[in-house]
C-alpha cells in the first residue's frame, strides 16, 4: 500500500488538489452570490439576504438546497441529449479553466513532496485557458438551440455572436503582456513583473511598467472579459427585461444552477487573469525591503475579527449572538497566530496568496459595482463597440508594445 502510494504520489497529490480546489471554488462561488447580493443591496439602500443565518450567511446553503430539491421538468420537444449536455459543458469548462491558474509562488513540502499551488502548469498556460473559455460558447449556444423555444434561441444567438466577437479583442489585448513577458506561462508572466523600478513593487506590474505600460491592454481585456462572461452591462443573453431569462429560460433546478455556477466561476477566472496579467499576481505592491508589510494579513485579520465580535454581540437573534463572536474570535486568533515569530514561515508563505486573493476580490467588487450602476447595451451597439472600438484599440496596443519592446532590446 505504502509502496503504491509513493509510486503514484504525483497523481494522488494532483487528485487531492483537484478535489480541494473544486471544493474551494464552489464554496467561493456560493459566497460570491452572497457577496454580490449584499453589496448590490447596500448600494440600493436595502439589506439584502438576512433571514437565513446571521447576516444571511447561510443563504448560499439554502439556495443550494433549493436548487437540488426543485422539480426539474424537461420541456416537450427539446433535443434531450443536447439539452442535458449544455449545462454540463458550461460548468465543466468553467471549472477546468481554473486548473492552470497559479495561486502562489512557493511550493509546500508535504511528506517530502513538493506541492505547488496549481494543478497544471503548462508552458502555454494562457493559450490553454483561452482555448477552454472559448469552448464555453458551446454551452450557451447548445442550451439555446436545444430548448426548442424562441426566447432562449434569441438569447443564445446574441450570446454566441457576442462571445465570438469579444474573443478576438480579449486575446489580442493580452498579446502586449505576452510580448513583455516573453512567455505564455502564467507563473513566468508574474515573475517577469517582479523586477520593478527603484524596488517599488507596484511599479513592476505590467499596467504601470515595462517598455509600454499596458493600461490600454488592461481596459480592453477587462471590458472584453465582462462581455465574455455575460455580465452587466453586456448581459444581453439573459436580459430579463427583453428575453425573459435568455438562453437558460427553459432550464430549472440544478441544471439552471450549473449555468449559474459556470457564470460565477468564469467571473473568478477573469478576476484571476486580470490580477495575474496586469497587476502582478501574487506580488506585493510595496518595496521588497519593507518586510513589515508581511504583517499586513495580521493587521487586517485582527481588527476585522474584533469587528465581527463587536457586531456579533449586538446582533438581534440569539444565533447571531452565538455564532458571530465565535467566527470573529477565530479570525482574530488567526491574525494573532500569523504575527507570532514561531509561525513566521507560514506568514511568509501566505503572502503570495494573500495579495492575489486581495486583487481578485477588488475585481469581483468592480463586477458587482458595475451591476449596481450601469444600464444594458443593445445588441448592435455591443457588436459595434467590440468591432469598431475594442478591436482596433487592442491591435494598436499590440503594435505599440511590439515597437517599444523592440526599441528596448535593440537600442
Amino acid at each position: 500500500m505504502i509502496d503504491f502510494l509513493s509510486a503514484h504520489a504525483e497523481i494522488i497529490i494532483t487528485l487531492i488538489k483537484i478535489v480541494l480546489l473544486l471544493f474551494i471554488v464552489l464554496t467561493v462561488n456560493a459566497y460570491l452570490t452572497w457577496f454580490e447580493r449584499k453589496v448590490v443591496a447596500h448600494m440600493q439602500s436595502r439589506w439584502g439576504p438576512h433571514r437565513v443565518g446571521p447576516h444571511g450567511l447561510l443563504q448560499p446553503l439554502a439556495d443550494g438546497a433549493k436548487f437540488l430539491l426543485k422539480e426539474d421538468p424537461t420541456p416537450a420537444g427539446v433535443d434531450k441529449f443536447v439539452y442535458f449536455l449544455a449545462p454540463l459543458l458550461a460548468l465543466g469548462l468553467a471549472l477546468t479553466s481554473i486548473a492552470v491558474i497559479p495561486f502562489g509562488p512557493d511550493p509546500i513540502r508535504v511528506l517530502g513532496h513538493q506541492v505547488y499551488l496549481y494543478i497544471a502548469n503548462p508552458s502555454i498556460g494562457l493559450l490553454v485557458l483561452f482555448a477552454i473559455t472559448a469552448l464555453g460558447v458551446y454551452g450557451v449556444a447548445l442550451a439555446g438551440w436545444s430548448s426548442n423555444s424562441k426566447y432562449p434561441l434569441l438569447g443564445s444567438l446574441r450570446s454566441s455572436a457576442q462571445m465570438i466577437s469579444y474573443e478576438l479583442a480579449l486575446t489580442l489585448s493580452v498579446v502586449g503582456v505576452l510580448l513583455m513577458a516573453n512567455s505564455f506561462n502564467l507563473t513566468e508572466i508574474i515573475n517577469a513583473q517582479s523586477h520593478p523600478a527603484w524596488g517599488v513593487g507596484i511599479l513592476g506590474w505590467n499596467i504601470f511598467s515595462g517598455p509600454f505600460p499596458q493600461i490600454l491592454g488592461f481596459f480592453c481585456f477587462f471590458i472584453a472579459a465582462i462581455a465574455e462572461t455575460n455580465r452587466v452591462p453586456f448581459d444581453l443573453a439573459e436580459a430579463e427585461s427583453e428575453l425573459v431569462a435568455g438562453f437558460h429560460t427553459e432550464y430549472s433546478s440544478f441544471k439552471f444552477a450549473m449555468f449559474f455556477i459556470a457564470e460565477y466561476t468564469s467571473m473568478i477566472t477573469v478576476s484571476c487573469l486580470c490580477s495575474i496579467l496586469f497587476f502582478g499576481g501574487w506580488l506585493s505592491p510595496f518595496p521588497q525591503s519593507w518586510t513589515f508589510t508581511y504583517y499586513l494579513p495580521s493587521l487586517l485579520l485582527i481588527p476585522s475579527g474584533l469587528w465581527v465580535i463587536w457586531d456579533g454581540i449586538r446582533y438581534e437573534t440569539i444565533w447571531g449572538r452565538l455564532i458571530l463572536p465565535g467566527i470573529g474570535t477565530v479570525i482574530a486568533l488567526l491574525g494573532l497566530a500569523l504575527a507570532l515569530p514561531q509561525l513566521q514561515f507560514v506568514n511568509v508563505f501566505i503572502q503570495g496568496p494573500f495579495w492575489l486573493l486581495g486583487k481578485i476580490l477588488v475585481f469581483l467588487f468592480v463586477y458587482v459595482w458595475m451591476r449596481g450602476t450601469l444600464p444594458r447595451f443593445r445588441y448592435d451597439q455591443l457588436m459595434a463597440f467590440g468591432w469598431k472600438l475594442l478591436l482596433p484599440v487592442s491591435i494598436a496596443n499590440v503594435v505599440l508594445t511590439a515597437f517599444f519592446v523592440l526599441l528596448r532590446s535593440n537600442p
Binding site: 448600494m43 425573459v244 450602476t373
Partner: protein, 398 residues
Amino acid sequence: MTTVETPIGTAKTMVLNMGPQHPSTHGVLRIALELDGETVVKAVPDLGYLHTGIEKSCEDKTYSQAITLTDRMDYLNPLGNNLVYCLAVEKLLGLEVPKRAQYVRVMLVELQRISSHLVWLGTHAIDLGAMSVFLYCFREREEILKIFELFAGQRMMTSYFRIGGLALEPPAGWRAAIDKFLKMMPSRVDDYETLLTKNRIWMGRTQGIGYISTEDAVALSMTGPTLRASGLAYDNRKLFPYSSYEEFEFDVPTRTDSDCFGRYMVRVAEMRESLKIVRQAFDKIADQGPIRSEAPGIVPPAREKMKTEMEALIYHFKIFTEGFAPPPGEAFVAVESPRGELGCFVASDGSAKPLRVHFRSPSFINLQALPKLTEGQLISDVVACIGTIDIVLGEVDR
C-alpha cells in the same frame, strides 16, 4: 386573440409572442411581434387581459360610491382619477368647491404625478438594465405613499376626494411631512439624473429610439409627456385650467427630439415642475376654512350640525341611503394625468345613479402609437418604447 399571419414554409420571419406574462410589458400587455432576426417587422398590441368593467360598474353605484371604483383604474394615479370624476360630477351639479379644498387637491395630485413618474422612471430604467435607479425611485415613492396614508388612511386606493370637496380635514402634522419631502426630493431627482442622463449607454439606448413626429403624434391623438417630447406644449393644466391651476406658476417642459430620450427628459423636468406646484399649494392652503362646499342634499353635513339640526340629519340619511340625483344632462371634464389627457364623461338621467360613465384614458390612446414607434427597430427597443409610452394596463382596459 390577435394573430400575426406569416406564410408557412417560405417564411423568413419569426413570430414572437411577447406577453401577457413578460417582465417588461408593464402588466398584462401582449404584443405579437413579427421578427426578422432581431428587427421588428410588425407589432400588434393585444389588449383586454385586465378588463375590469369599471365603467359599467359605475352605472350601478350612486355618484359617491363610484369614486372608489375610479381608484382602481389607473392604479398609479388614483387621486387624479378621483379628481377627474369628482370634477365631472361637480360640473353636472354646478357645484363650486372651496378654494382650500381645491389647493389641497392640486397639491396631492401633483405629489401623485411625482410618484407616478417615479414608478415610470424606475421601471423604465430596470427595463434597460439600470437596476439601482428602480430601487431609488421606489424609496422616494414610499415617502409619497406615506403622505397619502397620512391624508387618506390608504397608501394607494386613497379615494380622498369627494364630490364637493375632500373626505377629511387635512391631518395634524401634514405640513411637516410635506415640507420634509419637498426638501429631500430635488437632490434625489439630481441623483437619478447623475446615474442616467449623461450615461453613454443610456443615451445609446434611448436617443433616436421610438421617434414619432409632432404630426404623427397629433394624428394619433397622443397626449401628455409623450406628445410634449414631440415638441407640442399641450397641457390641460395650462390650456384649460381646472381646480385653480391658473393661480399656479409652472412651466410646461417640452423637447423636440421626439424619441425615448426626449420623453425621459420631459418626465424628469415635470417632476421638478410638480415640486414647484406642491410648494406653491403648500403656501396657499389656509390653516382654517371649509373643505367641502355648502350643498345640502349633496355634500354630507358636518358632524356637529347633525346633532343639532333635524334637516342635517335627514340629508345625511338620504345621501348615504339613496344618494343624490343630479339634473338630467351630461358633462365632460379633462385633466392632465401623469400619462396625458384623462377625460371623464358623465351622463345623468335624473336618477341617483349615473346613466353612463366613460373615461378617455391616455394610456389606451397613447398605446396606439406602439406599432408606429417600434416597427423597423430592434426587439430591445420595443421594451424601451413600451416604457416611454408609460402605460398602465388597468387604465388601458378599464
